[in-house]
Structures are given as C-alpha cells and as structure tokens.
Symmetry: C2
C-alpha cells in the first residue's frame, strides 16, 4: 500500500546543514561540486527522501530530529570489506602479506563456522553503523549468515560468497546460488555479486566461467585484483599478462559487466587502456591503511583512474589488516596518501574526498542513483554529524572539517532506508556487549592453529 | 605541608588494566618492553603516583574511579604544536608549504592579538584534554597568555616564545624573559625553552646568541629544524651546510644543551654523526600528517634516529596544517608511515609506537623521569581508555588495539598532576561552547588579509 500524501511522514529532520551535490551527479569523478546548505529540512517517507530543502513544507511525522549544529550527509559506503574478520582484529600484526595470509589468517579461517561469521558480522555492523557507514560490500564465506545479519540489523549491503578455484566448480556454483537467492532481499537493501577471490587464486578457466555466469544472470563481479605490485610482477613473469589483462582476457573486464576491483595498487600504465574500455562499468575500491601497514610500494592510482573515468570508492578491507572498519579514516587517508604519492598538495581536496565517499562509492557498489546523495527519490541513507566538539571548531571550510578534523565518533545518528539504526550514539538494532560475550566464547576454537591446515596458499 | 600517610589519598583508581614499562626506562628507544597488568590499582597523592600494582593496599581517598574494562596509560604528550593555531583550522587547505605560509598563515598571524591566542589556546587545551593529551610543547607568540591558560585549565606544558631574527635582539630577549619568568610555574606543570623559529628564519649570529643564553640560564631550546628536504637542499646550496650542521656550528647542537627539533624530515645521512654526538640530549618531534598533506618527499627518519639514540616524540604541529591536535592519530600514523617508508611491515610495531608516545615523548619535552610512565614517584598524568566499543573488540593484542583500533574519542578520563580534567568525556576546567562563541566573534578580524602584511617570508 502506498501511503497517502496526507499520512504523516516517517521521519522529518530539521535545522541541519546538508551536503548537496550540485554537479551532474554522474559519479565519474569529473564533477566534484559539493555545496553545504544551511537550515535544511529532510522529509523521509517509505524509506525514500521525499523532499529536501531550506523552505520546504513540513508534514506531520512519526519521528522528528532537530539537528541544529549537525551536518547531514549521505551515509558512508565501505566498498570492500570482509566484515566477519573483525573477530581477528589485531591477531596478525607487523607481518608481511605472505606471512599474514599463510601463517595466521588462512590457517585460522580453516576453523570458521557459520556462528563465528554471524557474530563477526554483527560486531562489524555495530562498528560500521556507529561510524556512519550505511552500506558495505562484503566478500567472504558463509554469506547466508551475513545476509541474515544485514536483514536483521537494518544496514545496506552488497554481498558476494567468495571462492577459490581450489574448491572446484562447487565454489563458483555456491557463489551463484547465493547471489541469485539473496538478490533484492531485505526490501532491496541487499544486492549481490559473484565473488571470485582473485586472479592468483582463481584460474583462467574459472574466471571465464564466472564471466559467463555473470552475463547470463545479470550479476556484477566483486574480485581482488592487482592488489599489490608484487602480484602484477608475478603475473607478468608467469603469464606475460597483468592481473587486469587476465581479467579482460577471461571476459570479466569487457565493459558489459559491472565489476568491482578491490585495491588495484598493482595497476600499471598498460592496464589503463584496458580499464578505460570498460566504459565506467568498472570501479576500484581503495583501502589505503592496509597498504601502509603491509609496506606495499604503491597505493591505488586514483588520479590515473579518474583520468579514464573509473570511479574509486572508499573501503577498509577486513579489520584483520585494517584494524578497524573506519571509512571516515579511509576518507582522510585517501586524501593524505594521494597528495603524498602524487607529490601534489593541491590534489585530492576535501571535496574530492567527499565525492569519492558519496557518489563514487555508491556507484562502485552498484547502488548508483539509489544512494550516495541527499536528493528527492533516493533511498534515505543519512548520517548526522556533530561538529560542536573542540576538535572540529572553528569551521572555515566545512568540507575540510568533515574530511580532516571530524572523526567517525562524531556521527550522532545513522539512518538506513529511513530507519534510525543509531540515535545519539546509541545502537538500536544490535547488542554489542552480548555479541562480544558470545564471540569471546568462540575465540579459542576459532584462533587455534595447531591443526596445520590453511584454506589456501598465498604466493601471488 | 606534607600530608600524613594516614590522610586519605587524593585519588584511587581500581580495576584497570595498566600499561607498564618493564625495560630500563632509559627512553633511548633501545628498550621498548611494555606489559599490561590487569586488575591494577593506582593511588595518587599530592599530584604523584604513590603506589601502583595488583595487590596493593588501598587507602581511603577523596575520589575513587572504578575503571574495570578500561586501560590506564600515561597521558599522551604533544611534543610540538602551535596550540592557538586551532583558530586557523581548515583555512589554508590544499596548498604547498610556501603558499600556506606566505599567502595565508603569515598574513593572518600579523593580525594576532593576545585575546586570539588566549581563546585559541583554550580551545586547543580542550581538544587535547579530550584526546588524552596531558602535556604539550608549544612554540608560538603571546606565550604569557598560553601560560595563563595552562595554569588555569590544569594541563602540563613546555612553552617557548617564538622569534625570528627579523625582530632583532628583542625577539630573543623576549623569549628569554618569558622562559625565565614562567619556568616551574603552575606548581611545576610549566617548563620553558628558548624558541628560535628555524635556521632559515633565525640567522647564525642569533642562533649563536641563543645557544649562549641557553647555556647561561640552563634552558633548553625548541626549534624547527630540517623540516623538509627542500630546506636541507636550500641550506646546502646557500651555506654549504645542512640545517643540522648549522645548529651544531652555532652551538645549539653540541651535547651540553637539551634541544627539541621539530620535524626533521630533511635530516640526511651526514647529519647523523652530528646528532649522535649530542649524546641523547637532542630529541626530534614527528608530526607525520602534515608531511603527507604538504606532499613532502620524506618523513622523519625514525629508524636512523633510533640507531643513534635520539628519542623521537609524537606531535601534531598546529591544527592549521594538521587539522587536529590528535596525538592518537599521530601515534597510529607514525607506525603506518614508518612501515611504508622503510618498506618493512615488521618495523615500528605497536609497542614501539607506545614507547614513542610515552617515555620518548616525555623525554623529548624535558619531562623525562617525571612523566611518561605509570610508576611510583612519577607525576600522576594518567588517561583511562574505554575499549568496550565495537571498534576495539575483540582484543587479541592490547598494544595493537590501543595504537591502531582505539581513537582519541575512546579516552574517558584525563588526569594531570592527580587532578581530573575530564571525567566520562566531560571537560571540567574549560567551557567549549563559550570559547567557541568568543572565538567566533574574533575570527573576522583575525583572518583578514586585505592589509597585505605578513610576519615573515617563507623561502627556505
């Protein structure tokens, strides 16, 4: 039943300063115009922003938030993570990539149960909602469980069941089955993808079969690709092709599939024409903290990708490498590391960072045109940010304050699909102490490595 | 009057997990052993940690804090900042160093009044106390005003009145007069230094005179030095000597003065023997966020400095370049940027980062042996950190959780000299809304650049 216009709205927010996109909204990175409109009101009905503006008529509403002194902005999107890995936060520190995988993470993941994944996903969602993240792209195992957590806690997600070709065709089929069964679930809050792990763990035949399935079923693909320069060099040495070229040759990166590439710090000059030919249907997720931690020699080439119209979304990767799921930090670090890497302090301004965090991230996870901006008709994924703290005052440049001075802990209210998931820092759909208690009971069995197994071998 | 042992203690903290240094505590960087002792109690009397341990006898106390689930650690030290510059937070974004100085900051600073400095210092102290900073080293103008704010709000500080040689001998004399008058004030919470700006703004004669004064009066020197590689190269081109060599030649860096060098990202190989000869009386403050932002090609060479026994403290620089006074972020970034720069994921572990944040920082600001550790007889500068949030759970490695997952906003209680300055996130000695309101009234006059003046010219 469509509510009649005379019925009260679900939610009215008044008095906020709203982040508005004033460009074309194409999300291509070519138009980063952002304005801040003071004393804005937002009317939410049926999960959608019905109206937003300064002098709009305000209907009765079931719920009202007076947000003077707060900034309303689109919820952040975590464009690539492994949410349940919060269970492993801090367990594999100060290690090179190969030892991190082979000696700690992949042995531990051979113990994973659906209960571990459920508790990890709940804790991750709690962390993300508290940090103003309203949508995440997850790439992991036991994804039925993650989907159930998403359904229950109210967040939005783009989910894919990960597989290696070592699992045989069953891995791919399970990923397909998951993607088809969950697509559009939770009232449309869940979208799905096929999720092959990476070109170095999924062979060319399996990649080609994945591309065929994606095409046949109209599914996007979410995959780790050219994560670091070593992988690119190993791929060139072994196959004479870069990971990006392998993805093109196997039919993944052809321009008729929507593809989300995680990391891409190993993308090299010769990959750019390949990516350009995908006509903006490819996006890259950047999670710069992990690249520093692992001492990878390069970061995601954001400037080159912008030059060829590839959107770059912000991400955290899993907390076992990133220490948190703090997309706010990813936003600031992306700006800082891009300035440093390009040797150009004028590059990747705060407004550009906000554009990555909003329109480009929404597009990267396949929700472009539905989220990523505060505009009538878009889903009501909104966060309210309190800038009254001493660390965010005074405000000379609101974009700079948001990106470089504000912190995820300044998010006071998180709204997804018009539903308030956190109000005044209080989570309304998840019980953190209970989750932590239950997870604590699972940890000894989860982290046991005495069996000597691992789910896969890392060797680029 | 010395309180009798039978009198109640001022403060007793019970049930916390305490960060304890178990090495020699020399602060040289050669011994970074840190342990976490659960269920620890801390007794504070007369501003000093009287006792700390697991099974110690607990006296009556005027104030008790039950801190179960919280970590007690030494308060953070901001080893180099310009606190009042919070007033300029976000006003000079996305600019190279030279334009940042010449086009925005130095023109604006020609408008500075003591009232601006007072309000900026208050706001800065509020931000730092909320972020777990219990001591800061400030290098700025109108420092009488900053000292009064420190006295009033209860934080600890190492203060120096900045000067350029363009001010003539008066600048230096004013710095000396300030240092002598305020040394030991606020019950010992204030220490002072001579604060020449930098070798590129203070000529050799003035530096030599500074060294003489420092020696004569037993004062330390706090100076910007080799801030970036450009400065080192310009100095070599102009004088045939690096900034560090100039400081040695003018008598500043000789090993009988305590010297705090800010930044040092332009320290080069040939500087290392010069610094080594100062026998650990020189320290360097690193503030890595600004180096990224300005796209400087190098960062502070922490590993090389450790190799020659030079302590490296953590810092934020001013908020006009760093966007915040968040030393917690400096701690995490120092670890991440050092790993990345050295190409070594095993380097600058969380425990090393905590060692920089505590013993090395205390030593850098001349408070070594008085703060920087939780031990009987040391001043009671303590912060309590709440790790129950979803972003800091579960805990597999408490050092990693503190450095890489916790945030400054997780500090619940900040104590300086035994006095509680923030309790449960509430500031007890500063009124932020009132400071922000008053500062807001000052801003139009402060940021006016129509006069075309500047206090100095940047040209390395």
């Amino acid at each position: 039943m469509t509510p009649s216009p005379a019925a009260p709205a679900d939610l009215v927010i008044t008095g906020c300063t709203a982040l508005r996109h004033t460009g074309t909204g194409s999300g291509s990175g070519s138009d980063e115009r952002i304005e801040f409109a003071e004393d804005t009101s937002i009317v939410v009905r049926g999960g959608v922003i019905e109206a937003i503006g300064v002098d709009i008529e305000l209907p009765d509403a079931v719920e009202r938030i007076h947000a003077r002194g707060q900034v309303a902005m689109p919820g952040l999107v975590n464009c690539h993570t492994h949410a349940p890995m919060v269970a492993l936060r801090g367990i594999a520190e100060d290690l090179p990539t190969e030892e991190w995988f082979n000696d700690v993470v992949w042995p531990i993941e051979s113990n994973l149960t659906a209960v571990d994944v459920e508790l990890g996903a709940k804790l991750a969602c709690a962390e993300m909602i508290r940090g103003g993240v309203t949508c995440f792209a997850d790439h992991y195992f036991s994804m039925d469980t993650v989907a159930a957590v998403v359904e229950e806690c109210g967040i939005r997600a783009h989910l894919g069941e990960a597989y290696f070709s070592s699992q045989g065709p069953q891995g791919r089929e399970k990923s397909l089955e998951f993607a088809l069964r969950h697509r559009g679930r939770a009232g449309g809050r869940i979208t799905t993808a096929l999720a092959p792990h990476a070109p170095y763990t999924v062979d060319d035949t399996a990649l080609a079969a994945t591309a065929d399935l994606a095409r046949e079923h109209g599914l996007p693909v979410h995959i780790h690709a050219a994560e670091n320069r070593d992988q690119t060099e190993a791929s060139l040495a072994r196959h004479g092709r870069t990971p990006i070229e392998i993805l093109a040759r196997t039919g993944i990166l052809t321009g008729d599939l929507d593809v989300l590439l995680a990391h891409g710090t190993g993308i090299v000059e010769r990959d750019l024409p390949v990516l350009a030919r995908t006509n903006g249907r490819t996006a890259v997720a950047t999670a710069p903290r992990g690249y520093l931690r692992f001492a990878w020699p390069t970061t995601t080439p954001v400037r080159a990708l912008r030059g060829i119209g590839v959107p770059v979304g912000l991400a955290t990767d899993g907390a076992a490498s990133n220490s948190s799921l703090d997309v706010w930090e990813s936003m600031a670090l992306t700006s800082l590391i891009q300035k440093s890497t390009e040797g150009d302090p004028r590059w990747l301004t705060s407004r550009q960072a906000l554009h990555h965090a909003t329109l480009q991230s929404a597009r990267a996870v396949g929700f472009g045109g539905r989220i990523g901006s505060l505009a009538p008709g878009l889903r009501a994924d909104i966060v309210l940010v309190d800038l009254t703290g001493p660390h965010t005052q005074p405000v000379h440049d609101l974009a700079a304050t948001l990106v470089h001075s504000a912190r995820s802990s300044d998010v006071r209210t998180t709204i997804v699909d018009g539903r308030i998931l956190m109000r005044d820092r209080e989570l309304l759909t998840l019980d953190v102490p209970e989750i932590v208690r239950e997870l604590g009971e699972r940890l000894p069995a989860l982290v046991d490595r005495s069996h000597g197994r691992r789910i896969q071998e890392y060797g680029t």
